[in-house]
Point group: D2
Chain length 377, copies 4
């Protein structure tokens, strides 16, 4: 693994716990974790349960005792590491976004496909039981033809203008702001659930242009200093979409929505029913079926913790809910199984590229002030 | 009153009940109701409590015993009747939309202003206690500067493709579909709550192009026949907006959202808090304040039925909720008081024109595939 | 009508509006309202729309132009007026509680039955569309055999110890506190929905024993004075129940539950499903069916405003909600129809007696500290 | 650890993960797991991450390399193992119920106190962030004096009469049914949050008396056979309570509430506000404060995932929710720290005894049909 911060912890935890709850066809051994700061990565190795550590990712990807490289370093480092790992013949699991630009993402996909390794991208939310159940209901045709798709991903950690200038607010490191961080997830779920995008038109804002520079780099909880620096990414980006299947879509990502903490939602309205999901209540899925008896129609709140629901039989009895981190475990389970069994795995770099293409189409539409066809990006 | 269908009933009920619950500075007398079908209007007069009826609106507006004309005939008849009533020196209360085009609406506003009558438009939802409370909280500065405004108005009565071709689906009579019917309300509430629009870009669809022609004209519950006719209005229209104050907005209106019956919502996110309202739970308002103690922050669900809330002291004890029709009573109360006391009344024809301007800007943006400045329409 | 306060207003409104929304087989004429205070009752007559007024109920009940007497005077006056009205051969609609004691209630029932008039008691909540729908679902057998019934009726207007000593806190006038006022409604709904009580055991408290005497009698919003007086009724009463059908029940009534304004709820669990209702969201009913496909089971929130739902076709389109007062209109509609058509009407005095019997059984169980069989009271 | 089923897995997971997310003052080593079935326990050791296994608990508790014994064998085995472990000088962490009878529980408490080991009982729900926050709000006096406490613990896995006769339905193994399993948790939380019980009166039912005997013992999902056996425990038990502080309480436990999966709730109403918690939405806490401005009072839904909330800074960013299993990790963290640092730990065997006393008081009240003072049990 390359990277050992927030995402490094979440990924490490998945490798650590997956074998306890799932029957894997492989033995998983957490061989080595890699980071530039020796003290930091050594501490992380111990804390997270890795057998060894490296400070040079080039050394890591060339180790013979490693089959799979997990890349969750900052976004601007993804490309180089991924290309190296692929060249070294390792399977690669990369955090999103795949790269900072669509061109880079395409290059990485091509490299991975040519080398024949099993590539994956961390669109973890696909693997929540409620999202899997939504997919199943859609696949079963119970929602019918899709008319409307509405996604939001609302957070509030930047609404305070004194919140410091974190790395995520620097375009060179992060690539973009709420758009790449939050809309990326929404775009991937939309593609997963109802299919590809035809065209988009967007709107973007940076509400607070200068923020205090953190005294020391401690991530989101950094102490503010007297100096300020420029915010170079968007605080919020919303867009309208038309899907290839004719559905209308609206998407909104912001870090300025007070009271919304990790409020990723989707609503899907079709010719036979409707679905609604909210990440802040991730064990639940709301569904509506027009074929219920007329006097008994209403949104059902399904508590997605039954033995018959996806993945849940591996956890606890009904009603004993799971949390954010479990989606990583499910993803890692499926990914490892696909490596061992030679089956297809998605989401992979192809999905990363497709997502990037929509993101860039939105950016272009904002520049032009007009709709942009996704295929033309 | 001109008109005696759904809206005629709602307005009649307001005149009938307002004096029982509010202290008016005038005696309200329900003098006459007017409609072209003699049997229909006679029955309505009796049922709704009007002292007489007319079959010719010209006669009605020239009766000496009438001070106020309420116009809720089909949308394409508004202009002529309103201009006539204004010319006859009557106060005029007109259903929305004011007219089928912006030009017509402007003409009506000008005529009303020149004649000096008190004019009003039926944006009834402004007068719900929860909406009034939202306005008060915003005016008190408790939400701060506005960053995001999100509105939806979702219904599902057209999702069934066999639903017949009602008059609301005929562009010549109704003017437009979900856009003029539903977005109009959302636009007015947005203007009322946070201010005017700068620019918009929209998206529109008609999902079902042909529908059975009703055997007889019985409104929404008409029996379908074998013949079909063309739907000439939009089934759904969504748009992005930028407000003059810099806020970002998203708006969605549809009649194809299964399970949403009268789901008009707004969410407002500002620099100090947030608000959320849902018309299907019209006695409630959700609020979030960032100045609450950090460990105690959360959305409050206010049951807007206390004596301290707007209008509610005139009704029942706390927790004894009110319904859809009460907003009309509040509106009528305020309007009559403004006539008697010579005070300003809003929403009036000016608000009708402003709303129409935004609606048309959206229509133009859809044609162009690009953003349109509202002022330039 | 005898009485012209809160309930007088609610009942008057029902008579005033019922003909506008329902097809009655009788002409309803609001002939006279009666109260001891001449100015007060005269004002009420005018405000509420009564043609005349009386200050002596004896005169009222003997007027030839009156067929139906509505009694909503304070509880301790019910018996005398009702017996008089019945003797005069008038149909009688009485507010709950029927009387202050079970013995009195039985005497009133007997008198009414002997005279052959149509008698009714104002358990208005039976007539909410959501409650009627619950009844229909139960009758259709979709919940199966009942295992659990849970009712609460929570308010908070006494939680403030400075709230003045209203007439409802005086045992001689009101009969009892939260028990007779709130549990009475819960008991009636339980009987209506799942049947009669076998035995009960209760618990009761008065949390605040002395309260300021109001400066003037202005009902619940009275201004407090310096003097205090004794609270002689219960602030809260809860009880366990066993029903004749074997179901277990829990009931709780209180005026000390902060944040609950008119929170009357019932939950019913049976061998095939479950139901939940909350008066603060009176347009909704939650249902669960165990025969839904296993992966799709969940509580449905039905918005009870469709044309297929009880009474709602008489009101507005789907999603256009109704309020507290509408239940009275539905009750009055059914009651008048039953008078005209000679059909049975419930709830009537028999239901009032049955309810009183359960209330008294609970009181006896509190005295004894042990279970009491309802039949033995 | 003794035991390796559902609870064995949950406890094992806690030991495995605690060091990754919390800073412990001790190194935790998972030395050995014990069970009678050699194959079963060996597989569990491997799966859960234990270094060795034993098939004889006597051997386990006498191993020198072990300081702490975790007992989650079936309830009827608790006493013997705990007494042995205590005698061997081991710290003991025991699943609830401590024992099958109050007398046994008292004996175990006495033995543990005399030996001086650190004893703990697994009332895990105390350690949820939302429950800890509730405790903090109560301790801060923000709810005031308590008037009402309402607890429910509703499940539905027995509502199907064909569900097989699991060990939990056998009084000799499980001690009791819903009462000991579910009410035990509610009683402990009530004691933790608002204090001790004064007196109780209960009601209990077994709705289904005979169930199919499982073909093989596979826990809750066992396949049914043709033979049936007797259910010897309660399906549902509810009771009224009076607390020492004067508060009124209602408690309900059932396994027959369709649609409720793990619906443990508490509602607390005091002189200054109210609290509500629901285990099915365990990341949330609802609060109401009467000192909020009158027009802004309402229940707040706090998403208990902020850095300022109990334990949550050790997990993920705000809005990234946790699940059922996390409470065990928090408990194990606190327990291990208390062992290392010599601080007090609760809940311990004293709390186990107190809980057992209330459970037995309820049982006695059911036999008597009358209230029972808890102290007199």
């Amino acid at each position: 693994m390359v990277g050992y911060k927030f995402m490094g912890k979440a990924h490490s935890h998945a490798y650590k716990d997956v074998g306890m709850f799932f029957e894997l066809d492989a033995d998983v051994s957490m061989q080595a974790i890699c980071g530039r700061d020796k003290d930091g990565v050594q501490a992380a190795a111990e804390k997270f349960g890795w057998s060894s550590y490296e400070t040079d990712w080039q050394r890591l990807i060339n180790r013979d005792d490693i089959d799979l490289i997990d890349v969750n370093a900052p976004s601007n480092a993804h490309k180089e590491i991924v290309l190296g790992a692929v060249k070294a013949g390792k399977h690669v699991f990369c955090e999103k976004p795949l790269a900072l630009t669509l061109a880079d993402a395409r290059e990485m996909l091509q490299a991975a496909e040519q080398s024949g390794v099993k590539h994956a991208i961390c669109f973890n939310y696909r693997f929540l039981p409620a999202v899997q159940l939504a997919k199943q209901i859609l696949t079963d045709g119970q929602i019918g033809d899709i008319h409307h798709y509405r996604a939001t991903y609302l957070q509030d950690w930047l609404a305070d203008p004194d919140f410091p200038l974190a790395w995520r607010l620097n375009k060179e490191v992060a690539g973009s702001g709420s758009h790449g961080d939050l809309n990326a997830h929404c775009i991937d779920l939309a593609r997963f659930l109802i299919g590809d995008f035809e065209r988009v038109v967007g709107h973007s804002k940076t509400f607070v242009h200068k923020r205090p520079i953190p005294a020391s780099s401690q991530g989101l909880t950094a102490v503010a200093s007297d100096e300020t620096g420029d915010v170079t990414v968007d605080d919020a980006t919303s867009f309208l979409a038309e899907f290839k299947n004719g559905a209308m879509g609206t998407f909104e990502a912001t870090r300025f929505a007070y009271g919304r903490k990790n409020y990723q939602t989707f609503e899907i309205y079709g010719s036979k029913g409707a679905l609604r999901f909210n990440l802040e209540r991730l064990n639940e899925l709301e569904v509506y079926f027009k074929d219920d008896p007329p006097h008994l129609q209403g949104y059902r709140t399904i508590l997605v913790t039954e033995g018959v629901h996806p993945y849940t039989a591996n956890w606890w009895p009904p009603g004993h809910t799971i949390g954010y981190e479990h989606a990583f475990i499910h993803l890692v389970y499926e990914y490892i199984q696909s490596i061992v069994n030679g089956s297809d795995f998605a989401p992979n770099f192809y999905d990363g590229v497709q997502c990037q293409q929509v993101l860039e189409a939105v950016d272009q539409s904002i520049e032009k002030g007009a709709w942009v066809r996704v295929e033309e990006v």
